[in-house]
Amino acid sequence: MYGMVNKAVEEMVISQFDDETWEKIKAKAAIDVEIFISNETYPDEITYKLVVSAAEILGLTPDQVLEAFGIHWVCHTAPEGYGELFTAGGKTLSDFLVNLPSFHSRIKLIFPKLDPPIFIITEPADNSLSLHYYSPRPGLTSFVIGLLKGLGIYYKTQLDIVLVNSSEAGSDHDEFLLTW
């Protein structure tokens, strides 16, 4: 996983709790990485451990942590990490969602070691579209939901998210019907 993801987990915990809680989470997860390098690739296991540990320390479920993390990512990490480039992702939620697949395609080119998820947009309409999410990493559906919710907040748009097909239910990917 991209270092920026772990770093984002760290930032979320520190901004919403404190350094001490983060150290506790790291200690519980038995992770002794001092600083996550944004563009470095880390084993996925680290991210999973951090999420599980954070859930235990904060008294949440891992899904709740992931969702919160998704929201935090969109509302804080991405705008701060990507700056204008994130803003340039689209003038509207619809624009942004449409650009999302190309965005990840570019990432794959720029960081060849990364294995970014695949997003596919189908049935784009004025107020809706279907977002298909394919990922080599299981169990991150809640994270995607958090990301989508975060986009709704970022673009100040009422966004309804319906998980039409779920990888947990046996599908090869998650399919979200998004309407706004």
């Binding site: 920026m4 390098i37 944004s38 700056g83 480039l85 570019r106």
Partner: protein, 704 residues
């Protein structure tokens, strides 16, 4: 092969793949503009002039269509006028249109530029890698930010490390110093511990032996391995062990350092071989990491105890010896004085017979010699008692003025003999009734007055008594005896109160005396809590003085009856012409008895003599006596026992015959015994006729 359909591309399609393209004809007029370029700069539109909207930065120096066409294979960089943006791309001549086509997109070096230009990713062609470039740049920025953050943290950490390092170095130094000190302290402790003259055992709060020194091991006969970890009670006799456990637990709860001097008496320790030895201990404690630790110093006091025992025995022996000496002195006192009293008494009697002048003179010399000898013997006995620490003062209520009067009367006889004048002055504020030893006070005054008379050839001898202080029922009285005698040199004055000292040998030869009198006076005054001294000038005279504090008498002292009053109230028996009062004399010594009987006869009493207590008791049972004179020391039954018997009989029969003790000494212990058996008065040997007369008269005159 001929493809049926060549790819023809409409302006809109071109705009999709090259949203920033534009076409211009040889007149340098724009004929077609891509939608994103139009969005970027609304002035760039069909019909607009090339050079009004663009400046060709590269290739350089292109000013017209032809020159641009010629360089169309080069990379073109166009500065968009009125905007801070450059377009990067290439020129392509389209012969069908006779125009040049610019294909390119904005050259962006900062992701922020997209926003500033009002563009979004959708405004770029999908194949355009400008966005990718921006993304790389952004990644670079992020990496840079990460690096900066890391560098910052590194710097902070390094500073922190340095700080910690310095602190650690300091701490190391402090620790090293502390360790050295500890080591030094441990060494010193070890040396002191081992070199201590006492056995030392260090005991834990649980009572186990933690540490011992060699001295302790040799005291108890154990090896170190035998005692370490064992209960300390192993060093204590089993009969004390249980009590010690309780004591030890109490100590742990309320620890208190205890010096050796406060060691409990009669402590004993138990050696390995089962023998015991007396010890003294001291305790000190400290709270260590292991808890309370008690250090016990153990001193073997076997030798001390033995020394104490030896000392006690020596003291007992000394007391016994002193007691024997005391008894010897008492015996001597009696044995020497009794015959001497006989000599003097008989001489007195003899002198009252018909004698010629020569005989009287010789007898007077016999009497004086006897009196001198008695005086000397008394002095020697007093000195012996002082040296043996056996001189004890009496404490009774007495009348000072009558004592002074008595002394004065006595000394007047002697001053008259030498034709001197004796002046006695008692200041009016001197309290009359005091508490002390009148006999010894008299002895001092007689001694000082005697000396004054002895060393004064003519003039006066003056006795003065003054009150110096009166407070808290205590009167400090100053006595002085002043003469107009030969005086004493300053050299001699300082040694005058030492025993066996006289002014000088010639004085001794000329005036006689033992040289003990003043030493005795000094001791007596000191025993009374006072001081004695002398002021003197040779040839002019001396003044001996002493100052003594007396308690005031607690009881009223009955005034002795004046001679005149007595005569009036109780006329003497002789004069009254009544039956002579019958007096019993119990005295074993024939000489003393003879003297006493003569005296009684002359005083006009009907006296009967018996030689011991039993006879006296028989006589008492047979006859009625107005008074009994009872010698205390008699064979068979002594005066004390006899008196007890008489008083016991009187208990049944009623009545009370006055019994006057005749004592060899005026020791207060003797007198106490007299009073305890029921005697009424006493008179000491040698019997003074005048005193005898007054005592008998006092008791006989009392109604039955």
């Amino acid at each position: 092969m001929v493809f049926p359909h060549k790819v023809g591309i409409s302006p809109d399609q071109l705009s999709t793949v090259f949203p920033f393209h534009f076409c211009f004809d040889p007149t340098l007029t724009l004929s077609q503009v891509g939608h994103s370029l139009a969005l970027l700069c609304p002035g760039i539109a069909e019909g607009a002039s090339f050079f009004e909207n663009f400046k060709i930065e590269r290739p350089a120096y292109l000013v017209d269509f032809e020159s641009i066409l010629k360089q169309s294979h080069q990379l073109f960089i166009l500065q968009v006028k009125h905007l801070d943006v450059k377009l990067r791309g290439q020129m392509k001549y389209v012969p069908e249109a006779g125009s040049l086509l610019f294909l390119g997109s904005p050259w962006l070096t900062d992701p922020a530029q997209i926003g500033e230009l009002g563009l979004t990713i959708s405004d770029f062609a999908t194949h355009d890698n400008s966005i990718d470039l921006l993304q790389v740049l952004q990644a670079q920025n992020i990496a840079l930010a990460d690096t900066q953050k890391l560098a910052k943290r590194l710097t902070l950490q390094q500073a922190e490390l340095k700080k910690i390092n310095t602190a650690m170095k300091d701490e190391m130094a402090v620790r090293k110093e502390a360790e050295e000190k500890l080591l030094e302290g441990e060494n010193i402790f070890q040396i002191l511990f081992e070199s201590a003259s006492d056995g030392i055992v260090i005991v834990s709060a649980q009572g186990t032996i933690e540490m011992v020194n060699d001295h302790l091991l040799s005291l108890f006969g154990y090896s170190r391995i035998e005692v370490l970890g064992q209960p300390v009670e192993m060093l204590i006799p089993s009969r004390f062990a249980e009590q010690h456990v309780q004591y030890r637990k109490g100590f742990v709860k309320h620890p208190q350092n205890r010096p050796m001097s406060l060691s409990k008496p009669d402590l004993f320790a138990l050696r390995k071989n089962g023998s015991e030895f007396p010890i003294e201990t001291s305790l000190s404690y400290v709270h260590s990491q292991k808890g309370l630790v008690v250090m016990v110093f153990i001193m073997d006091i076997t030798e001390k105890k033995q020394a104490e025992k030896d000392l006690a025995e020596a003291r007992d022996q000394a007391i016994e010896a002193s007691h024997l000496k005391s008894e010897f002195l008492a015996a001597m006192s009696h044995e020497i004085r009794t015959p001497m009293n006989g000599v003097i008494g008989i001489t007195d009697l003899l002198m009252e017979t018909a004698l010629d002048e020569e005989q009287r003179k010789l007898l007077k010399m016999v009497k004086d010699s006897g009196a001198s000898l008695l005086y000397i013997i008394n002095d020697i006995l007093d000195t012996s008692k002082i040296e043996a620490g056996m001189l004890q003062l009496e404490n009774i209520d007495f009348d000072l003025s009558s004592e002074i009067e008595g002394v004065s009367d006595l000394m007047t006889i002697r001053t008259k003999e030498k034709q001197l004048v004796l002046i006695t002055q008692i200041q009016s504020d001197v309290p009359r009734h005091l508490y002390g030893d009148p006999g010894r006070l008299r002895q001092i005054l007689i001694n000082l007055l005697g000396n004054a008379i002895k060393f004064t050839l003519k003039g006066t001898v003056e006795l003065q008594i003054e009150l110096k202080a009166l407070e808290d029922q205590k009167a400090t009285i100053f006595f002085s005896v002043k003469d107009t005698g030969i005086g004493i040199s300053a050299r001699v004055q300082s040694e005058l109160f030492q025993p066996y000292r006289q002014a000088d040998q010639s004085t001794a030869r000329k005036f006689g005396g033992t040289g003990l009198g003043l030493a005795i006076c000094r001791k007596l005054v000191e025993l009374m809590g006072g001081r004695i001294g002398v002021d003197s000038q040779e040839g002019i005279g001396s003044r001996f003085w002493f100052i003594v504090p007396f308690d005031l008498a607690t009881n009223e002292i009955p005034q002795p009856l004046q001679q005149e009053d007595k005569k009036e109230l109780y006329p003497s028996c002789k004069e009254a012409g009544n039956t002579l009062p019958k007096i019993l004399l119990a005295e074993d010594n024939n000489v003393n008895a003879l003297i006493a009987m003569k005296m009684l006869e002359r005083l006009g009493y009907d006296a009967e003599r018996v030689t011991n207590g039993r006879e006296a008791l028989d006589a008492f049972n047979r006859n009625s006596y107005r008074l009994i004179l009872m010698d205390c020391q008699m064979p068979e039954m002594d005066g004390y026992e006899t008196t007890s018997e008489i008083r016991a009989i009187e208990q049944k029969t009623g009545g009370h015959v006055p019994i006057v003790a005749i004592t060899a000494s005026a020791l207060s212990s003797d007198l106490e015994r007299c009073w305890s058996v029921g005697m009424d008065d006493h008179i000491s040997k040698p019997i003074d006729k005048q005193l005898l007369a007054s005592i008998i008269e006092r008791w006989v005159s009392q109604p039955f």
